[in-house]
């Protein structure tokens, strides 16, 4: 064991990769069973329900298309203004959907396994998100899977700011994260004018996460270290326990 712990990170990573391939048939089987059960449950939905859902989705689609036209116009205007001011042009995110295939077996880490590996184009530190907000970043790579360190894991700290006050801080694990995985801690300067319900979003500093992804909402806050800084508890926007599918942001 001492020999294993003393090995360089790259070598142990390769050992881990080799060992986890032993579980690939079982993960494949679990995925096939999941797909089959989903197909079976879909085939049992009554036609009337499907027609009602289709009508709802058509209406929602029309509203979204109108909003898209509006936002396209705003984006064009934004691009023109950025060009006039000499700012760098912002490009649209390229996302790739992935399925969650496993969770960390140990209690003291917060990681997920997704079916998006090196052979699909995955790279270390790629941000992982959902429509609700930030999930984490890729922390380990396999051929067919990746390990995602979730927000709140000791190995995933996020540069973020409070949207309402524009105060910058760092999101990391809190002592209550061990019990409830839906909370993290935000460290802010002492002068911050926080209120419960303020939104915390990624600041783009640090270079891993792009700016503007929702992390969560402030639940409560207090002064710590004799008032040197403020510590806020943040309720995460994404409940990782209920995740089935995530999006990986490609470069």
């Amino acid at each position: 064991m001492i020999v294993l712990l003393a090995l360089p990170g790259k070598t142990t990573g390769q050992f881990k990769l080799a060992l986890s391939t032993l579980f690939l048939p079982l993960f494949g089987l679990a995925g096939a069973v999941h797909d089959a059960s989903e197909r079976a449950s879909k085939s049992l939905i009554p036609r009337q329900t499907l027609v009602t859902q289709l009508d709802q989705l058509r209406r929602e689609n029309q509203v979204l298309r109108l909003q898209l036209t509006q936002s396209e116009e705003a984006r064009r205007e934004n691009d023109q203004l950025r060009q006039q001011l000499g700012f760098q042009k912002q490009s649209a995110w390229k996302l790739r959907a992935s399925r969650v295939i496993g969770r960390d077996s140990a209690n003291w880490w917060r990681t997920l396994k997704i079916d998006f590996g090196r052979q699909d184009g995955a790279q270390l530190f790629m941000p992982v998100l959902t429509a609700d907000g930030l999930v984490g970043r890729i922390s380990e790579l396999g051929m067919n899977y990746s390990q995602v360190a979730l927000v709140g894991d000791p190995n995933c700290r996020v540069a973020a700011f409070v949207l309402e006050t524009r105060e910058n801080g760092v999101v990391g694990p809190s002592s209550s994260s061990a019990m409830d995985h839906t909370f993290v801690e935000l460290i802010l300067p002492k002068s911050s004018d926080l209120k419960v319900g303020h939104r915390v979003i990624t600041s783009g500093q640090g270079g891993v996460f792009p700016k503007g992804i929702l992390v969560g909402e402030i639940l409560d806050f207090r002064n710590v270290s004799y008032g040197l800084y403020q510590e806020a508890r943040v309720k995460l926007a994404v409940n990782a326990n209920r995740l089935d599918e995530v999006f990986v942001k490609l470069p």
Partner: protein
């Protein structure tokens, strides 16, 4: 030591590691990951001796570490220590008693994560530890206590299913047979 029994234990360990990672329904329900490997180690150490302890610690521990963010090898040490301590005192353990199985399972479930955490801190890692860790330890202790007798029962059934039954020795001896009647 029965190699067939050991093989079944190792396959069970491998399946347990997979299920803990891929099927987290129960752990999400109780709010902490349930670790069944220490309970399996209790059975292996009493039924298969040192090779059983060594093989299960390697297969289970390495598999567990491969599917988690643990550094490789951390769980091997904790499982091996738990298994060897039980094996060392095996003569004093009333392994057939349900009560003894509960107590051994609870102790193994509590000790294995403690040793793992200690090793992680010694290796310079910073695992997520807080007040909630006490609840996690309680869950692991409780699950160890509950599942150990089930493993004993399950493997006894497997043993009956896969091995020839042991015939009781007869006290009949041909040279001591009393033959009645005239010859």
């Amino acid at each position: 030591m029965n190699w067939l029994n050991l093989t079944v234990i190792l396959i069970t360990g491998w399946l347990i590691v997979f299920c803990q990672s891929a099927l987290p329904v129960l752990s999400q329900l109780v709010g902490a990951q349930i670790d069944l490997l220490p309970a399996l180690m209790v059975y292996a150490s009493l039924a298969c001796g040192v090779p059983g302890v060594l093989f299960l610690a390697c297969v289970g521990g390495l598999g567990f570490d491969a599917l988690s963010a643990n550094p490789l090898g951390v769980s091997v040490a904790s499982l091996f220590v738990v298994g060897m301590v039980i094996h060392w005192r095996r003569e004093l353990i009333l392994r057939e008693e349900r009560y003894a199985q509960h107590v051994l399972g609870a102790m193994a479930g509590a000790t294995a994560p403690l040793i793992t955490l200690f090793t992680l801190f010694c290796a310079g890692e910073s695992p997520l530890v807080g007040w909630g860790t006490l609840w996690q330890f309680a869950v692991m202790t409780g699950s160890g206590a509950i599942i150990t007798p089930i493993f004993f029962h399950l493997f006894a059934w497997f043993d009956r299913l896969l091995n020839h039954p042991v015939l009781p020795e007869t006290s009949f001896r041909a040279d001591r047979e009393i033959k009645r009647g005239r010859q």
